[in-house]
């Protein structure tokens, strides 16, 4: 694999753009910021599998929260 440890800003942006495109192509539902965060995590060696799981979990949780909020029910986490 090509090894360039000092990413230049322009190319980084380009990369991010490409990734974003792919992301939208694949309909991942990630926005640019989330994607950037994920990429950073991945780059730091986080298992993408796990990361994906985390994102899904979080989304589910947030959806639950929103639902809860909308139904005006208060739930607590133990």
């Amino acid at each position: 694999m090509a090894d360039s440890s000092k990413p230049r800003i322009s190319s980084a942006r380009e990369t991010m753009e490409t990734l974003m495109e792919i992301s939208s192509l694949l309909n991942t539902g990630l926005d640019e910021e989330t994607l950037a965060t994920c990429v950073r995590l991945c780059e730091s060696g986080v298992n993408p599998e796990a990361l994906a799981l985390v994102i899904k979990e979080l989304r589910r949780e947030s959806a639950a929260i929103k639902e809860n909020e909308s139904s005006q029910q208060s739930t607590t986490f133990s």
Binding site: N27, T37, P48, E49, I55
Partner: protein
């Protein structure tokens, strides 16, 4: 692992927290439980996959897109992917891609449960199961966490269609999390399945899910069991748990094709083939596919090892070398194929994910290797069958594959054969046109024995190597080829004739390209024609030389005239001259005297007009002398042969000639003796009339003599006409018809054999021959007896004459004709003569005639029992009036004799 985990917590934790906030939209403080949860999940799964294969992931994405009918997007994706690679900013491209892939299609629908399910089932690693510290507490927490999500996710996670089922869905998630964490056995198929499931309608999706979950819900929290019920195949002895990227496999296959061990594909000596290593996990189907594909490598190795082991062997010979060359050509073709494939693989690696439709996959490779595999199979089969063979045998072995039903294979074999036959054909052409045998490695089917000198060139020097005759040639053709070359050699070396075969130049020009005609004779008769023309041409040439230059026929006739007593006047005269000498004991004979006599006989008879060369060759030879032999027993004529004709008149056949001569000479002598006897009988008949007492004896002599003359005449007739003339005529016809020298030799052989067997000289007739000899001896005894008798009778006659003359003289002188004393003396002598000589001679003759008749009878009985019909005719001739049968009918009661007599009547 632990340090990595720590690292994950320290450095990316902030990012993670940020992520949590971002997704949940909660402030930093309330997001904590989520953050903790994420941290746990991440730390528990924090292990890089064994294979971080970007290609694989991208392929999978493309497949997903393609499956949904978004080929355009797939193309777009590969474009983007290429761009991404080109930028080279990211280190873990595969990770990002994988993440995106896992999250794909979650954007709008947010199908938490199915995608969760699918993602859980995604790649897990066995290595991970063991290497990651597994804390039950974490799991417990995890479980409780999941449990807590049930409450919240119950209504939202699953689609709203069937909310009642959510309660049964969630425990699955419960049990699946650890199952993934602990065993994580998964394969591609499953993933595909789950992906598909994902895409099926929501309803059926839920149902299948339910079923499945129900099943696993029975055994919750026993992940191993769950897995085992789901994928029993995965517990197979081959590990099929995870996927090696296809690209890598292809690369490995390229190595395996060349017989080199790859990264995963190793040579398994127990199974004698290339196999994916046992512990490497790939699906069974792929495993099988690879096993099939690697057959190429195995076959290649086989062929290659044959070539390397033999092509270095100098003694392997030209045919073997050309076979190796043919194999090499085929392998070069195969190398080309590998190169193309490898370039394809390489290209795709460089290009990243290639076009979906054009990319190289294992299955495509399987299709592409079909033809090379067939070729290699045939080559390996050839190599197997040709092991240890060389020359013509090798060609035969390959030729046996020529009848293959598959035209593709046949053309391959044909091509190989053409190469293999080239050296054979070249040798053959050299052989039949030039008579030169360029066969350093003993591959050709004509063998030459260098120790044999020119005398025996035709008979012994060249022979056929039966094993080396290619099966496409018939034995007859091989024989002709052998003969042609042999004839040329014979002409060159023995006859010293150097005329080149016509059409030689043309044949030399065509040369190698015609090799194919050798093994395609069923459709192409060019080879046969070539062999035939050259054979005819050469044989005719040889026979011409044989007849004109070496006067074969003249020599043959000389044999007939001298050794087989064809020249009657010469033989008779020779016998006249030799009679005196030959009567002496054999030890007193001198060769030079006899040669002188032979010379005289030639000069005095018609033999002098014969060819001087022939006469020069004629010589006297004395056979081995054994004690008691007379000259008659050892005398023999001889005929010297040399040069090419010696090929026909071999020393062995000359000995046969001498044996026949000896027999004929004896028979001739009997005739001669009987003629003398008859002559004496006639000449003495008058003079002995004066003694009337002798009449009885003379009569007896006449009878016995006549009997013998009849016997010998019939025997001579038989020998001359039924044996010699018949066979001779046959021989002459055959010699005129002969196409090659071998025919002449064979005809001559037949001639000699017939003569020998009919002259009773072979083993079977030994008893009859002895009998005949005894009869001959009796004739000689009779001659001696008669001579003695005539001598004494002559003496008596002369005494009586003298007595009469004395009486006359006394009377003339006026004395008494006889005195008392003289009368008494005369009477006494007369009485003595009558009392001694006559009875003894009588007795002798009686014994002789008796034994003679017995012998002849015996002889006749033997003749009738002889298998040869001609000899039975002889017995019929001898006993034409049934004289002997009448005398001793009981002896002729053999069934054969009975038949004969019956037929006669």
């Amino acid at each position: 692992m632990a340090s990595q985990g720590d690292y994950a917590v320290t450095s990316p934790s902030a990012i993670l927290q940020k992520l949590c906030c971002k997704i949940t939209g909660l402030p930093d403080d309330t997001v904590l439980p989520y953050y903790q949860l994420s941290l746990r999940i991440i730390s528990s799964k924090f292990s890089p996959a064994i294979e971080t294969d970007e290609f694989q992931v991208s392929e999978k994405i493309k497949r997903q897109l393609a499956r949904k009918g978004r080929e355009k997007d797939a193309a777009l994706f590969s474009e983007l992917h290429r761009k991404l690679k080109a930028q080279g900013v990211l280190h873990n491209r595969w990770a990002v891609l994988h993440l995106l892939m896992t999250l794909s299609d979650t954007g709008i629908k947010r199908q938490a449960a199915p995608s969760f399910d699918s993602s859980i089932f995604n790649k897990g690693l066995p290595a991970y199961a063991t290497s990651t510290p597994f804390h039950p507490t974490i799991r417990a927490n995890n479980l409780t966490l999941s449990g807590s999500t049930i409450l919240s996710g119950g209504s939202s996670g699953i689609s709203s269609i069937n909310s009642g089922l959510t309660s049964s869905t969630t425990p699955v998630a419960q049990s699946f999390i650890p199952s993934n964490a602990v065993v994580s056995v998964q394969n591609n198929r499953h993933e595909d399945k789950s992906n598909q499931r994902q895409n099926v309608g929501t309803k059926s999706q839920t149902i299948t899910l339910t079923n499945k979950n129900f099943e696993s819900a029975v055994v919750p929290r026993t992940p191993g069991t769950v897995v085992s019920t789901q994928t029993p195949a995965s517990r197979d002895k081959d590990n099929t748990s995870f996927e090696i990227p296809e690209n890598e496999l292809l690369k490995d296959l390229m190595f395996a094709f060349q017989g080199i061990e790859g990264r995963w594909i190793k040579f398994n000596s127990a199974k004698d083939g290339y196999r994916i290593e046992h512990q490497v996990g790939i699906p069974k189907s792929v495993r099988q596919l690879i096993s099939k594909l690697t057959e190429c490598g195995w076959l290649y190795n086989r062929t290659k090892s044959y070539i390397t082991s033999w092509s270095s062997d100098k003694a392997f010979g030209l045919v073997g070398q050309s076979f190796c060359a043919a194999l090499h050509q085929e392998l070069a073709e195969y190398y080309r194929f590998i190169t193309v494939m490898e370039a394809q693989v390489q290209h795709e690696r460089d290009q990243g994910i290639g076009d979906v439709n054009g990319g190289l996959t294992l299955r495509r490779l399987a299709v592409w290797t079909f033809d090379p595999l067939v070729r290699l199979k045939v080559l390996a089969a050839l190599v197997d069958v040709c092991k240890g063979k060389k020359g013509g045998a090798l060609a035969s072995a390959i030729y046996s594959y020529m009848q293959h039903g598959d035209p593709y294979v046949r053309s391959l074999i044909r091509h190989t054969l053409t190469m293999v036959f080239q050296p054979i054909y070249a040798t053959l052409v050299r052989w039949i046109y030039d008579g030169e045998l360029e066969d350093t490695y003993h591959e050709f089917f004509v063998a030459s024995d260098p120790t044999v000198n020119n005398d025996k060139l035709w008979n012994d020097k060249y022979s056929l190597r039966k094993t080396m005759i290619p099966t496409c040639l018939s034995i007859e053709q091989a024989r002709r080829i052998l003969l042609t070359g042999k004839s040329i050699n014979f002409l060159r070396q023995v006859c010293e004739d150097r005329t080149a075969t016509t059409g030689r130049e043309a044949a030399m020009d065509l040369d190698i390209s015609q090799a194919e005609t050798m093994f395609t004779q069923d459709v192409n008769s060019a080879f046969q024609q070539m062999i035939d023309t050259v054979y005819k041409e050469t044989s005719r040439n040889l026979l011409d030389v044989f007849h004109s230059k070496y006067k074969f026929l003249d020599h043959l006739k000389a044999m007939r005239r001298y050794l087989l007593l064809g020249q009657g006047d010469f033989i008779r005269h020779l016998m006249d001259l030799l009679e005196e000498d030959l009567a002496k004991p054999a030890s007193n004979l001198y060769l030079h005297n006899l040669t002188g006599i032979l010379e005289m006989a030639i000069r005095a008879t018609n033999a002098q007009y014969d060819d001087s060369d022939t006469l020069k060759r004629l010589d006297v030879r004395l056979l081995e002398v054994s004690p008691g032999d007379t000259g008659w027993d050892v005398f023999s004529l001889d005929y010297h042969v040399d040069g090419p004709i010696k090929t026909v008149f071999t020393p062995e056949s000359m000995i046969l000639y001498l044996r026949v001569f000896n027999f004929l000479w004896r028979a001739k002598r009997m005739e001669y003796i009987l003629a003398m006897i008859w002559k004496n009988q006639i000449s003495y008949a008058k003079s002995l009339k004066s003694i009337p007492e002798l009449n009885k004896i003379l009569h007896q002599c006449h009878i016995l003599g006549a009997e013998m003359v009849h016997f010998i005449q019939q025997v001579q007739y038989y020998i001359n006409f039924e044996v010699l003339e018949c066979s001779w005529d046959e021989l002459l016809t055959k010699v005129h018809e002969a196409e090659d020298l071998d025919h002449i030799i064979a005809a001559h052989q037949v001639f000699q054999d017939t003569v020998i067997s009919r002259c009773l000289l072979d083993e079977k007739s030994r008893a009859i021959l002895t009998q005949l000899r005894t009869i001959f001896d009796l004739i000689i005894q009779f001659q001696t007896a008669q001579r003695q008798f005539y001598e004494s009778a002559e003496l008596e006659v002369s005494f009586r004459d003298k007595f009469e003359k004395m009486k006359e003289k006394h009377t003339e002188e006026g004395d008494w004709a006889v005195t008392e004393v003289e009368v008494v003396e005369e009477q006494k002598r007369k009485d003595e003569f009558l009392n001694t000589v006559i009875p003894s001679t009588w007795a002798q003759l009686t014994v002789l005639s008796q034994s003679y008749q017995d012998m002849v009878q015996q002889f006749l009985v033997m003749l009738t029992c002889h298998p040869d019909v001609n000899l039975r005719f002889l017995s019929f001739r001898l006993d034409f009036n049934e004289n002997y049968k009448a005398r001793a009918p009981e002896q002729f009661n053999s069934p054969l004799m009975y038949q004969r007599t019956k037929r006669v009547r």
